[in-house]
């Protein structure tokens, strides 16, 4: 028994020494995330809320007074297929600066990664009332529409320079008919490689203009409000979600 123990101890020392001596082992670095938004060439921040006019694909002039969105299952994957879970979910509220950064407390070896996440919640995660912090900010999606949570809330006025009228671009589970619902989340596996080293931040960006153009050109005169119970509007949003997010290392 004693002999076995000594053998084990010696092996451990060897392994430890081996590890220490290997200069090729990448250093562990903390993963920090940042969230930004743009509308074509314009950055969109809290300072722009309500005041800046944006022009969508249909040349409709709009402003944005509220913008909140939910991403979940944020994961980094390296070339060996190892995964590092960064956060189960994160709600971005452009009016609350503290939500625009996320220091994950996750450390990963320096190197190349791909980022994946879910826009909104997938079916397994999108449970009624399951997240107290999201309940407290009234992020819930009505049970009559399938329940769970909002994925996106973007509110503002359109036709701002002619006859301003409100739009409520809210996305979540789609109701096909009474009691029949269709999932509406989007899985993102961003194709670009993120090379992460000490001091880097991963920036996840939303190009808001994409909500209004790709692949469906959005007409605010047709789809403005209420959109939550509107099946077609909910599915058009899901289709347009596919190109709004990108990530880069800063």
């Amino acid at each position: 028994m004693k002999k076995l123990f000594i053998t084990l101890l010696v092996s451990l020392v060897f392994i430890a020494c081996d590890s220490d001596d290997d200069n090729n082992t990448p250093a562990d670095v903390a993963v920090n995330l940042k969230f930004s938004q743009n509308f074509n060439e314009l950055q969109v921040t809290a300072l722009n809320l309500s005041t800046t006019t944006y022009v969508n694909e249909m040349n409709q002039e709009l402003n944005i007074t509220r913008l909140r969105y939910l991403l979940s299952r944020l994961v980094l994957t390296n070339s060996n297929g190892e995964t590092f879970s960064l956060s189960p979910y994160h709600l971005v509220d452009i009016s609350r600066p503290e939500t625009l950064t996320l220091n994950t407390n996750v450390t990963i070896p320096e190197g190349d990664y791909n980022l994946s996440f879910v826009y909104g919640f997938n079916e397994e995660d999108n449970q009624d009332g399951a997240y107290n912090d999201l309940n407290a900010v009234s992020w819930n999606w009505p049970q009559m529409l399938g329940g769970g949570y909002h994925f996106l809330q973007m509110d503002g006025q359109y036709n701002v320079n002619t006859e301003p009228a409100p739009y409520n671009f809210h996305n979540g589970t789609a109701r096909v008919s009474e009691g029949v619902f269709e999932q509406n989340f989007v899985n993102f596996n961003l194709p670009n490689t993120l090379s992460i080293s000490e001091g880097n931040t991963i920036n996840i960006n939303m190009d808001i203009a994409e909500w209004f153009r790709n692949p469906n050109t959005w007409d605010l005169n047709v789809y403005n409000t209420p959109l939550m119970p509107n099946y077609d509007a909910q599915k058009l949003m899901q289709q347009n979600a596919a190109t709004v997010f990108s990530a880069s290392v800063e």
Binding site: T51, G129, N140, P142, Q143, D155, P166, N168, P226, M228
Partner: protein, 295 residues
Amino acid sequence: MGRKLFFDPILSGNGTQACADCHRPQNAFSDPRQFSLGIDGIPGFRNSMPLQNLAWNFSQKFNWDGSAPSLEDQIFEPVTNPIEMNNTWPQAEASLKNHSEYPQLFKEAFNGATIDSILVTKAIAQFLRTLISGNSRFDRHLLGENILTPQELNGINVFMSEELGDCFHCHGNPFNPLWTDNTFHNNGLDASFTDLGLGNVSGDPRDNGKFRAPSLRNLAYTAPYMHDGRFATLDEVINHYSEGLVFSETIDPLMKSVAQGGVQLSEEDKAALKAFLLSLSDPEFINNPDFQNPN
């Protein structure tokens, strides 16, 4: 001790007014008068807010306009406000120090510390945090009791339907039974503002005319309604959202039907919505002996 202070006129300039005079237990700690009167009979300019479930105001912005960054800060203000208690804190502290009971009570509550304004606000704030309401008929419905009428159940549908009441975006939902989002909205009351609300605090014109969404809990006891108490009845409030909306630049886009004056509820939907709203009343809360005057 916080409760004793809350119900004691000792903090006011002439010893005639307690917090509870404008925050009455029977009114869910609000004031049935449109504007409360201070010690010199001068009216304020906003309706007194109810006090309940305050520990869950995570944004930590209190008052209609968010001017107090904590409950303790909120308590500091009325004591010295010239049209409210019109006192000075040194004077209030002196009155407490000369009282037959308070010096001992403070010593026990705060581990021997001397009486000062900070401790007074801490004691009252702790009492206010105990004012928890969670036993309305709707709360019991959420706990699985089959007690709501068909009309009340229709009412929650009106409340939760984006194409009907669409109340839930600002006023909570069954998973947020605070029945407020504790944030600030211009809900289409006026075309121009005599009271800037949040805008007066932030200095940002985009906040003009915005006020904190009040909780709908216990609203059977909290009339009149709105920041200026302009609506005497719940019917007037519902009619406002149904037909009375007025456009202004900072109006919340959630006031979606402003061009038509509101969401145009049918009389049946209005009655159902009202029935649901009244199911948020918690008589046990306003009658709780732990929340009454101990003096």
